[in-house]
Symmetry: C2
Subunit: 62 residues, 2 copies
């Protein structure tokens, strides 16, 4: 499968935020709207640090 | 295959920027460093408008 998972980088450690990410949409006010392939939707108050699709990783940070 | 392609949204139209994207890394100064699975690397002076992985689409804009 191709899905990537979103992690939050916090104090040098990564914490899982949302699995099987489909959509990432930056919104006004510096937030990210993130939706999984199952329709689960979460908002993260921060920005993208790095996306590495071959590694299936989306790293977010405040 | 899982690769997504990066497009630039410009005047309501989308223009292909880079195929088979692996890495996207926002940099200081509001630029995006984008690298393909083949190691081709480009810099885009703008931001991410939307990422839709199931549609294999990464949409950028100034």
């Amino acid at each position: 499968m191709c899905e990537s998972h979103a992690y939050i980088m916090k104090d040098g450690k990564e914490e899982l935020f949302l699995e099987n990410v489909d959509v990432i949409k930056p919104e006004e006010g510096g937030r990210l709207l993130i939706r999984s392939i199952f329709g689960e939707q979460k908002v993260f108050d921060g920005h993208i640090r790095e996306i590495a699709l071959l590694k299936h990783r989306i790293v977010l940070e405040k």
